[in-house]
Symmetry: C2
Subunit: 205 residues, 2 copies
């Protein structure tokens, strides 16, 4: 994971990992069946970073899950390249889901509504993490800081959105103030999350 965080997922090779571990390249295959399986394990390790409380309201549980996933993806932006391509059935992912389901069940969700409500939250959490990861990936690909990347991409962004008046207006809003990408994304994240939670709350008896 240190290697992945530092160099991204394209840069991870079994040989590099081996030298990092001061071992032979193929020794890894004693512990792991394939690179894919290794990545599955890594993915579940990341899920281990999202902590869902066992007590507390269903809204708190959902918030903890979604925010935890968001933070995890922020620190490990390569995760989004794995989600959807590899099954997420590790113990950490399972525990998080289990607790989330438990909280929703205790709140009164039942039957298919329970499944659907949980799926809605996970979908939103995953989806919201993607743009965040995209920015991280972009600015890590060059060695620059976020501010520098934002500044550097400004002309390109203005150029490609020039033909789209609504998008241009959005872009201007982004580049109007201090352009703290992370803060904007955080606000955006909680705005949508609260909307979704409000909508789900209306389904409760």
């Amino acid at each position: 994971m240190e290697l992945l965080d530092a160099e991204g997922i394209d840069a991870l090779s079994m040989r590099k990992l081996a030298t990092r571990l001061a071992s032979g390249a193929t020794s890894i295959y004693w512990y792991v069946e394939s690179k894919d399986q290794l990545l599955e394990l890594v993915m579940d390790a990341v899920y281990g970073e999202v902590a869902v409380p066992v007590d507390g309201s269903w809204r708190k549980a959902a918030e903890a899950f979604a925010a935890g996933l968001r933070k995890a993806v922020f620190h490990h932006p390569w995760l989004v390249s794995l989600v959807g391509a590899l099954p997420a059935i590790g113990p950490n992912a399972m525990t998080a889901s289990e607790r989330l389901v438990g909280a929703f069940k205790k709140a009164g969700f039942e039957g298919w509504s329970l499944d659907y409500a949980v799926a809605a939250i996970t979908s939103y959490a995953l989806g919201a993490a993607i743009p965040s990861a995209a920015w991280q990936n972009a600015h890590r690909k060059q060695g620059r800081s976020i501010q520098e990347t934002v500044a550097q991409m400004a002309p390109t962004i203005h150029f490609v959105s020039a033909d789209y008046p609504n998008l241009s207006e959005m872009v201007d809003r982004y580049y109007g103030g201090e352009t703290d990408v992370e803060q904007i994304q955080q606000r955006s994240f909680y705005f949508g999350l609260n909307a979704l939670l409000d909508g789900l709350e209306a389904c409760l008896p």
Copy 2:
């Protein structure tokens, strides 16, 4: 895209693509700078399949966008491996966003709320597409049909969820009836989408 649909993203190599095009492997590089750029173009081609109507309510626009993306990912499950890793600034993606923003703006969203509301919908749409793509990827990796894949994975799924009572309950519900994965996912998708739209509607003046 035919190659990607048939064999998945791991199986796409420049050489295979070249033989499919009855050309030399490196001839492709006359038209395309790198494989990554090729994938960017392919990604935008998929965005071309999601049609957002210019007229109609903001809810209809959001539904069309989300459902379109869902359908596109269903047919091209390899897309999720690209989203978040590659920038989505092609003309088709831009047009879809532009129209979505337009519809929301006409409905009364403005300022940051406009951006956030649109971001919420796209996040949900992307996130909801991921599990769907995961199933597709899984069942395409083996040559089997969906039903066969579902049946074949049943023991594994029961096994890994055995220690999690809430998840077991969910799994039982899934495997209780006819287990039409696609239909369940569709219902789940619209359930969450409507909840989110309801929540967003409450933000309107």
